[in-house]
């Protein structure tokens, strides 16, 4: 399989890959799995309808797996469902991400439904970047749905970043956290122009000693709109924290709606939400070190979303 330069560039942007990765990998290009490699301990099998895969990781495995998706054909719209079953006590890094190149006037859309079943004692690090490019009027749309179930003592850290160029996104994330399991979700989002982004995250802590964390950082520029709902539900003795921090610029609009639900007197849940513009003092400080105002803005935003 040879990728053209455009696909390679997209691949590099969303997953830092410069060549086809070794080990288990699934690369989807324009609606087809063009690379599907299993390894000794990680098997990737297609779903019956062909639209997605099931990945099974054997207990005790330590491995990094790449599962990027690329859309370069104009006007392509697809729905893909993937299931990840992470075996007991394994330690897995999954690098996902989706890049759309759409130069035309027809919309391109990728709706990914990801389900994670993380078995007792397993650890998962999941990294996902969404990126759109192309000058046409056609929108680049992502609607990811993520379901996560963390079994006893499992832990996961999920980093989801929407770098730029995504016109429309509605992400929905729901998790169930069992005894002593922990989940940390880190979301980073930047919108500009007329883009809209909605994110709904709900963490249900259903096992004693479970913990959940949602950290969201976002920047909204121009006329873009962002809506965040972050809900933590503590059904038992547990800890949880939500932090939504946004920089607003130009004529953008941001709604940040944290919600805490405690159903047990031993549940300790906290939230912090802040929306504000770049502080004048920050700009002035960086300009006094020789940066122009525009350079100062870029440094501040890059740092904030890092």
């Amino acid at each position: 399989m040879k990728f053209d330069n455009l696909s390679l560039e997209l691949l590099n942007t969303i997953s830092d890959l410069t060549k086809i990765p070794e080990g288990a990998a699934n690369i989807r290009l324009d609606g087809e799995a063009v690379i599907r490699n299993s390894s000794e301990n990680v098997t990737i099998t297609p779903r019956e309808d062909g639209q997605g895969f099931i990945m099974e990781v054997k207990p005790g495995t330590r491995e990094t797996v790449h599962v990027p998706v690329l859309l370069t054909k104009t006007g392509l719209q697809e729905t893909v469902a993937n299931t990840f079953i992470i075996g007991e006590n394994s330690d897995i890094t999954i690098i996902a991400g989706c890049g759309i190149h759409n130069p035309s006037h027809a919309d391109s859309r990728h709706d990914g439904v990801h389900e994670f079943i993380i078995r007792p004692g397993a650890r998962l690090k999941y990294i996902e970047k969404h990126y759109g490019q192309g000058q046409g009027k056609g929108k680049k749309i992502f609607n990811p749905t993520t379901k996560i179930s963390l079994q006893i003592g499992a832990s996961a850290e999920m980093e989801m970043t929407q770098i730029k160029g995504v016109d429309d996104t509605f992400r929905s994330t729901i998790a169930y956290i069992e005894d002593k399991a922990s989940l940390k979700i880190v979301e980073r989002l930047m919108t500009d122009g007329d883009q809209e982004a909605k994110s709904d995250v709900q963490l249900n802590i259903i096992g004693r000693g479970g913990s959940g964390q949602i950290l969201s950082r976002s920047v909204a520029r121009d006329k873009s709109i962002q809506v965040f709902r972050a809900a933590l539900v503590g059904r038992v003795e547990c800890t949880g924290h939500v932090e939504c921090d946004s920089i607003i610029m130009d004529n953008a609009r941001i709604s940040s709606i944290p919600e805490l639900v405690a159903e047990d007197s031993e549940a300790v849940l906290t939230h912090e939400a802040a929306i504000g513009k770049i502080a004048g003092e920050q700009l002035v400080k960086l300009m006094s070190l020789g940066l122009t105002e525009q350079e100062a803005v870029d440094v501040i935003l890059d740092g904030f979303l890092r």
């Binding site: 950082r217 002035v284 400080k285 960086l286 070190l289 940066l291 122009t292």
Partner: protein
């Protein structure tokens, strides 16, 4: 030479009226000297520093650096002309590390120099290099980070705004040693330190007392000690919890 000529500045006061906080200020600073600016709170010391850096614009008057008028230059342009200001209350940045900021202050600085500068201000690089300049740092740590940037940048005109505030005594002593070796009798630099610290005053060639937006007095430490003694001793007491006296 840095020259402030007949500067006036007004800020928005209560009930919509302007309040004049700098009222016809004339000052000259020569290369090779360390100047102290002292005087009561609210006197206009920080405003003078911000006028020099270009953060504040005067309503009238001129500022010259080596005979070039810089009154209308932007902050960045002044930075490139060789002016640097260590803020009294430096802002925090979420997501930027101490290393990032020092590298912005001094592009291309090598690791050895970077670490050396951090040690100079009492920040152990192993612990601090990658720390966020965010809400996790204390006020005193923020001051040290600020001073480190300014030391790393190495400018012609260097202004420190109460470098002693919030910094522990041991670090102040060390810092004074560094200021002394870097700036004392350095023919290439004009150093201005806004301070209430007696030990810092001792390394300065000249002391300028600012009150009500004007120069109240100017001279060597011996010449004006009687004017500032109470203010300095009071500030030192606030900082140290007891009055420390030094022989003059």
């Amino acid at each position: 030479m840095l020259k402030l000529e007949n500067l006036y500045m007004t800020v928005d006061g209560d009930n919509g009226t302007g309040r004049e906080i700098i009222r016809g200020l004339n000052l000259e600073f020569e290369r090779g000297k360390i100047y102290a600016i002292t005087g009561p709170n609210g006197g206009g010391k920080t405003s003078i520093a911000k006028l020099v850096m270009g953060i504040f614009k005067p309503n009238s008057g001129q500022i010259y650096l080596n005979d070039e008028e810089i009154t209308n230059l932007s902050i960045s342009e002044r930075a490139h002309r060789g002016i640097i200001y260590a803020f009294q209350q430096p802002p925090r940045f979420k997501g930027l590390t101490i290393e990032d900021l020092i590298k912005i202050a001094r592009p291309g600085i090598d690791q050895l120099a970077l670490r050396g500068t951090m040690r100079d201000v009492g920040l152990c690089p192993e612990d601090y290099l990658l720390r966020d300049v965010g809400p996790g740092l204390s006020g005193g740590e923020m001051k040290r980070v600020e001073i480190a940037q300014v030391l790393a940048r190495s400018a012609e005109v260097t202004i420190f705004d109460e470098p002693e505030a919030g910094v522990d005594l041991w670090t102040i002593q060390k810092l004074i040693g560094i200021l002394y070796s870097k700036f004392k009798d350095n023919p290439d630099s004009i150093t201005i330190i806004i301070t209430h610290n007696e030990n810092i005053l001792r390394i300065c060639d000249e002391i300028i007392v600012i009150q009500n937006g004007l120069v109240q007095a100017r001279g060597t430490r011996e010449e004006i000690w009687h004017l500032i003694k109470d203010d300095v001793e009071c500030k030192m007491k606030e900082q140290c919890g007891e009055l420390l006296t030094y022989e003059i």
